[in-house]
């Protein structure tokens, strides 16, 4: 299969599946499973091609930039596609049983519409990660936003609907900011193609404003502190698999575009000051999110605030990767952390879904003895927790290790302090949950039965979040393909 076909498959198969899932509602589940299979296989193939012959580009309609749109797959895109596929498969499996838990019309309705929306979400993500065109980014972002908002609303509760509406307003206005920015870029450079923009390496007031507009929009979509307000209600009130999708994947897409813009298209504008500002916001997010997570009464809100915090780590990548020495170390560290968070957070939200399903609530104070009801799920939660805290050998540890070594090599010790403090706070809010799980109860309540697939999917992802730490050399290898940041992985000075 040529890379062109691989890319076409990745974009068209979920799109067609989504259309069919809407036309023939009964086929939704099987279509999703089929798509999951196809996409995973194709992603693996594309990864092979990227490893073998480097960055893959395809000129859609045969024109090529600047007139036409180009698709591009480098190490970063492939990593994002792999993470998406991983989570996508898990959600496709988990949701086979999640929505049909109770056989009333509402549940049926939810399931009927979940599948096409889920597939549209997947289409948008794949298209976004394969695109090399900042206007095309806008179209994929809108598809992503519509699907995400509607999925939140699918829960149907007043809280969920209000959260969805707030999310929609943020998402739409953010898109308009981004779109206006694209307009200015086109007016200045006469192209919207990433490589061409990089080649021009322009600067100037118009581009500053343009980049500010796009960044503002993307930061709001990525829920970076202080624009994170919409995230906790949306992520906490959505159905469990949706919360997982949102936390693990959706908020990562705008972050990805930010990387493309700042590191690839306009590196000239990435002054140390800008980098430090991104880092400062990230640090604030880490502390603010973690502290809030500590004081949440509901499990899903705790996990959502933890997402706010963990997203902060991603933005530490800016000050650490923008520096010459150890830049690539931080780059790969931050992106490994992204993958680690995706797996761990999905596992946690699915666990929360199981607990909600089994116990009928997710009030942390009333979770005493939940281990006896759901040992597998709680174990999954704990495992995912170790990766979130960043305990070795988890993938979260690998990411933090690289960030830390970069920070130390560059003498930016204040980020070191933030990272370590964040880990301790994460430990605090995770232990807070687990402590209740271990509390002895004399007459354990009998839970609603949970379909095994729902427990084991969560556990599998949690396990993955831990063992993927051993995949970090491989990930660094992959990320090196076409990376905008160069240099070796720091292994420290060498001892004779």
């Amino acid at each position: 299969m040529t890379s062109a076909w691989a890319m076409a498959w990745l974009i068209l198969s979920p799109l067609v599946a989504a259309a069919l899932a809407f036309a023939f509602p009964r086929l939704g589940r099987s279509l999703a499973l089929g798509t999951a299979g196809v996409v995973s296989l194709v992603v693996v193939r594309l990864m092979g091609l990227v490893f073998a012959d480097g960055v893959q580009t395809h000129r859609v309609s045969g024109w090529g930039a600047p007139l036409g749109i180009e698709l591009r797959a480098d190490g970063l895109s492939v990593l994002m596609l792999i993470v998406t596929a991983l989570i996508g498969v898990a959600i496709a499996l988990y949701s086979q049983r999640y929505f049909v838990s109770d056989h009333d019309d509402e549940a049926l309705h939810r399931e009927r519409y979940f599948w096409p929306l889920f597939l549209f979400l997947w289409t948008a993500l794949n298209a976004l990660y394969l695109s090399a065109d900042i206007f095309n980014f806008y179209v994929t972002l809108e598809m992503l936003g519509f699907a995400a908002v509607t999925l939140v609303a699918l829960a149907g509760t007043h809280a969920a609907l209000t959260a969805a509406l707030r999310y929609l307003f943020v998402s739409l206005s953010a898109s308009l900011f981004y779109l206006l920015g694209v307009g200015f870029v086109y007016g200045q450079c006469g192209t919207v193609d990433l490589p061409s923009l990089a080649a021009q390496a322009r600067s100037g007031p118009a581009l500053w404003v343009a980049l500010a507009l796009m960044t503002g929009g993307l930061v709001a979509k990525a829920a970076l502190f202080p624009l994170h307000g919409w995230l906790p209600p949306a992520h906490a009130n959505a159905p469990a698999p949706v919360s997982a999708l949102l936390s693990a994947l959706v908020v990562k897409a705008p972050f990805y575009i930010l990387l493309r813009l700042w590191f690839e298209a306009f590196p000239a504008l990435m002054t140390p000051a800008v980098a430090q500002v991104f880092g400062a916001l990230g640090a604030a997010a880490i502390l603010w999110g973690s502290v809030n997570a500590l004081f949440q009464a509901r499990l899903k809100l705790l996990i959502a605030y933890s997402t706010v915090a963990q997203l902060g780590y991603l933005f530490l990548l800016f000050p650490l990767a923008a520096t010459r020495e150890g830049g690539f170390t931080a780059w790969s560290g931050g992106l490994m952390f992204l993958g680690a968070h995706a797996c761990a957070k999905t596992a946690m939200f699915l666990t929360a879904g199981n607990i909600l399903h089994a116990a009928g609530h997710d009030r942390i104070e009333d979770l005493d003895g939940i281990t006896h009801l759901l040992p597998v799920s709680v174990f999954a939660f704990g495992l995912a927790g170790t990766s979130l805290i960043g305990l070795p050998p988890s993938s979260g540890f690998a990411g933090k290790w690289l960030l830390l070594s970069a920070a130390l090599a560059q003498g930016q010790w204040w980020w070191v302090a933030v990272i370590l403090l964040g880990s301790l706070l994460a430990a605090a809010y995770i232990v807070r949950v687990l402590a209740h799980a271990f509390t002895r109860v004399n007459e354990p309540k009998t839970p609603n039965p949970i379909p095994p697939v729902m427990e084991w999917t969560a556990l599998a992802l949690a396990g993955l979040a831990v063992v993927l730490g051993f995949a970090s050399p491989w990930a660094a290898e992959l990320l090196r393909v076409g990376a905008p940041v160069v240099g070796p992985i720091l292994t420290g000075g060498s001892v004779p």
Binding site: T2, A4, W5, M7, A8, L12, L15, V16, A18, A19, L20, F22, A23, H58, R59, V60, S61, G62, W63, P66, L67, G68, I69, L71, H109, Y113, P116, L117, F120, T123, A127, F135, N136, V139, T140, E142, M143, F146, A147, V149, T150, A153, L154, L180, F184, Y186, G187, Q188, G190, T191, G204, P205, A206, W208, V209, A210, A212
Partner: protein
Amino acid sequence: MTSRVLVSVLSLALLAALGWAVLSLPFRPTGLTAESLVKLPESGVTNPVTAVLLNYRGYDTLLEVGVLLLAIVAVWSLRRGEWPASHLHDRPLLMSLLRVVLPVLVLAAGYLLWIGAFAPGGAFQGGALLGGAIVLVMLGGLARRVLAFDRLLRAGLVLGVIVFAAVCAVTMLLTGGLLQFPAGTGGTWIMVIESAALVSIGLTLGLLYFGGRPNAHHA
């Protein structure tokens, strides 16, 4: 009210920055006009806008047709379509008007679709007319009959995406490139895509007006 003051200051600052940016743009931006005109003969159409929409940047349009479908899926997932009772029984006067207007509207939509290849027009403009026609039909009290064909509606709504994707697959088999049409056949493929899109766009707009999934007592 302090918040209002704050927001107005913010907006004014925004305005200032944006105005500054506009004025600091090159006076004559180097657009892609020349390039698009050079490639026009190969594009299969003579209307540059259509060329951009369905050939140069046809991939955008593929995703956009997807977004249209997504919109209707989303709206249907959110609520049942409500319909004032007054619109549910036939209105003879409007009906008689429709008998004259509908054919014209459909014809006009088709014309816009066709003319789009050479002059302003195209699937979106045509689709807008078609959507209007559907709205009229519903207002005419035929909502019940329109919405009765749930299967057919869904088929029509997905038609655009399916055909577009099919064209992608076929042309890719022929040329090995995504949305790369065999030399000289561009016009035909574009016409196929647009006619399918026309139907879907028309239906989507009309049903967005209805604002929800067909209700039990409508269908």
